[in-house]
């Protein structure tokens, strides 16, 4: 009997390993399937594939940049609701600096510096006041939105319902246009992703972040304080936000009060689509942001294409995305619960 049990146990281990690999590959497989469906729809309708692919990159890039940095925060099991506000604020300061100097380098540096400063403020204040980081980000959401709103309103050049600051000088628009290319955006993302993957997987900092997310109490008892690693996580997220803000400025050449308003929630959905556990911890992966970000955008585009003749399609797109989001979280949680069954 014991031999039978041992052999069964060996099979179980193998099956578990296969299952783990499948679970890890599922988001990538989903992205491949979504991409294939998307391309099929484009070709079947004789749409312009090149423009559509460029559209995907343009729509996804800011989301993916912000999400990639934000993985560090989600890994801790925390959540930054002010990501959108922080993107808005850095883009606002960035566009003012760019309008004043015409320097692309200064645009990027300013956006990154401002975003990192906002992130630091979040994490340091939460550390000083012993408040959960999430709570600080709620406060920061209001503060940053208000400040950015005031700056935009008082410097608005827009004729629209939303006040906005635009780059109106044609020379400056040409400068921004020169880097508003798919290749430049992909390069920025690749560089940032490589840095994040390196920090996350090959340094003590990354390992400790993951451990901290899995069990902050145990991490503290292992000499890994949340306050210190929280600050590091927020700084990494800040860099992502800064890059996202700068790329957004090169793409839209303007910043309005509505800029990046939905990015916080989109980042959350995207990383779940990418296979990141919502509780963070050891199973966190940087690629979840990239895979999930593109999956989310492609899915939205597919639904938009399919429902293009349907009234109120945007509502349906949101509902279908929400259902898929719940399905993914549900499947992931079933998997989690199975592992907790008592023996």
């Amino acid at each position: 009997m014991e031999e039978v049990l041992k052999s069964r146990s060996g099979d179980a281990v193998k099956k578990q390993k296969v299952k783990n690999i499948i679970i890890m590959l599922l988001p990538i497989a989903a992205l491949v399937v979504l991409f294939a469906v998307y391309v099929a729809i484009i070709l079947a309708n004789d749409y312009n594939l090149a423009i559509n692919l460029e559209t995907i990159v343009n729509q996804a890039i800011v989301l993916v940049l912000v999400a990639t940095g934000a993985i560090f925060i989600f890994t801790l099991g925390s959540f930054d609701i002010s990501l959108g506000a922080s993107t808005l604020f850095s883009a606002t300061v960035g566009i003012l600096v760019f309008n004043a100097t015409g320097s692309l380098l200064l645009l990027f540096l300013t956006c990154i510096a401002v975003a990192v400063a906002c992130s630091l403020l979040n994490s340091v204040l939460s550390s000083v006041f012993h408040l959960p980081m999430f709570v600080m980000t709620v406060a920061m959401l209001s503060v940053l939105t208000s400040i950015a709103g005031t700056i935009i309103t008082t410097n608005s050049t827009s004729a629209g319902a939303n006040p906005a600051i635009s780059v109106s000088d044609s020379v400056l628009r040409d400068i921004l246009g020169s880097v508003d290319t798919v290749w430049f955006k992909v390069l920025i993302l690749a560089l940032f992703a490589v840095v994040c993957i390196f920090v996350f997987n090959f340094t003590k900092v990354g390992r400790r972040q993951k451990f901290l997310g899995g069990n902050p109490v145990c991490a503290k008892m292992t000499g890994i304080p949340l306050s210190v690693y929280g600050i590091i996580a927020f700084v990494m997220a800040g860099i992502g936000v800064g890059l996202g803000a700068a790329v957004n400025v090169t793409y839209t050449m303007s910043v309005s009060t509505g800029t990046a308003s939905d990015i916080g929630m989109s980042v959350f959905i995207a990383i779940v689509f990418g296979g990141m556990p919502i509780s963070g911890g050891a199973r966190s992966r940087i690629y979840a942001a990239i895979v999930g970000g593109f999956s989310y955008i492609i899915l939205n585009n597919i639904l938009n294409l399919l429902l293009s003749s349907v009234d109120g399609r945007y509502g349906y797109v949101q509902i279908i995305s929400a259902v898929l989001f719940l399905a993914i979280v549900y499947v992931a949680s079933i998997n989690y619960r199975v592992k907790h069954l008592p023996r």
Partner: protein
């Protein structure tokens, strides 16, 4: 096993979705060959004016011509405008009509890059026009010009100049939005007030210089002026405080009917606004205290469609120097419910002023700029 079942159900749902996508993709098509496909950018999807504009295009024009209109979701920023344009371009749309004004320069450039015709249907922007007027894909703009906005404000100010005895409340909407700035300059001039100067030009300059209106700088001899602008958490309370002072009237350069109708009707304060001829405004005028309304009408976006349709058919209308069109449209003004009712019945989705018969007069190969300009500028205000 039970969990496996649940997992399978969840995965099946996802698969079903993917499958249906593929099926729909196979059934999908690029529309009929000659069909004109126009994407419409909107920043308001639920307002009465926005809905009536939409119904005019999708329920009347689309029935009369071989054209499809696809509306965007509510566009809140430049990024979403550009993304929408890129999506339309990817689906081989022919043209974009913009009712959204977050960043028109980027809209124009995105359309140019995608090779789609682009037209502005409301809120004319002279800077944009000057920059892109020679762009081959820029059809042009039709709507109230800044001088029309000024005139609309001026007419309202003059109408109330003698009616205000002690005090007046003014709502500045979203100043420094240029459209609202010009209306405000007209309104103050019409009332006989000064703001950094007495002429319209001086007032416009002063408001832009201040990036808004400073209430204490408004001077109206012998009368008290209360001022409010924008819309935030405390706006309703602030308006309540103003209403409590019992002003002779509230004069608004926009949005007052949306935000404050209930309060003003209840308090019995007469008010005036520049908005549109909607059902709710009819009610405000019939049983409330709205007594002056300058507004757009449902089919006022008919001419820009004609211009876009012509362009897509290869008959782009250009003025003498080869530039895109830029033609101003006037507002209609109702000061009584009877007048309002006439406007409503004369221009509806099913029976619009700019009906097919009228639009056909400016659709075709041999339509000249002069004819088109005359068509737009002809006063079609319904008479009782």
């Amino acid at each position: 096993m039970k969990h496996l079942g649940k997992k399978l159900v969840a995965c099946a749902c996802a698969l079903a979705l993917t499958g249906s996508m593929a099926a729909l993709a196979a059934c999908g098509g690029n529309g009929e060959n000659d069909e004109v496909r126009i994407g419409v950018l909107v920043s308001d999807v639920s307002g009465e004016e926005a809905v009536s504009f939409r119904n005019y295009y999708t329920q009347y024009i689309a029935e009369q011509y071989n054209v499809t209109f696809t509306y965007t979701e509510q566009l809140n920023d430049s990024a979403s405008e550009i993304a929408a344009i890129e999506q339309f371009a990817g689906q081989n749309y022919d043209a974009i009509i913009s009712l959204s004004a977050n960043d028109r320069a980027s809209q124009a450039e995105a359309c140019e890059e995608a090779g789609m015709y682009y037209a502005i249907a409301s809120g004319m922007d002279d800077t944009i026009y000057e920059t892109y007027k020679n762009n081959e894909y820029f059809v042009g703009q039709i709507g109230p010009s800044m001088s029309t906005e000024y005139e609309a404000g001026l007419a309202m100010g003059e109408y109330y100049a003698d009616k205000i005895e002690d005090s007046v409340a003014i709502y500045g909407a979203f100043i420094p939005n240029p459209m609202h700035v010009y209306r405000m300059a007209g309104l103050l001039t019409g009332l006989g007030a000064t703001y950094g100067g007495a002429t319209g030009e001086a007032i416009v300059g002063a408001i832009f210089a201040d990036s808004g209106v400073t209430a204490s700088k408004i001077s109206l001899e012998g009368k008290t002026v209360s001022y409010l602008a924008g819309f935030g958490d405390s706006t309703m309370t602030e308006m309540g405080t103003i209403i409590a002072t019992d002003p002779d009237a509230l004069l608004s350069v926009g949005m007052a009917t949306t935000f404050f109708s209930a309060m003003l009707n209840e308090a019995g304060i007469p008010y005036a606004d520049i908005d549109s001829f909607t059902t709710s405004n009819a009610a405000n005028m019939q049983s409330g205290t709205l007594e002056y309304l300058a507004g757009k009408y449902t089919s006022s976006i008919g001419p820009i469609f004609a211009a876009v349709y012509n362009a897509v058919q290869g008959n782009k209308i250009e003025n003498a120097d080869g530039s895109a069109i830029s033609i101003s449209q006037d507002y209609w003004v109702a000061t009584s419910y009877e007048q309002f009712e006439v406007f409503q019945t004369s221009d509806s989705v099913t029976d619009p002023i700019y009906n097919k018969e009228l639009l056909d007069t400016v659709i075709g190969e041999d339509v000249t700029y002069e004819a088109f300009e005359a068509f737009v500028t002809t006063d079609r205000t319904p008479q009782a």
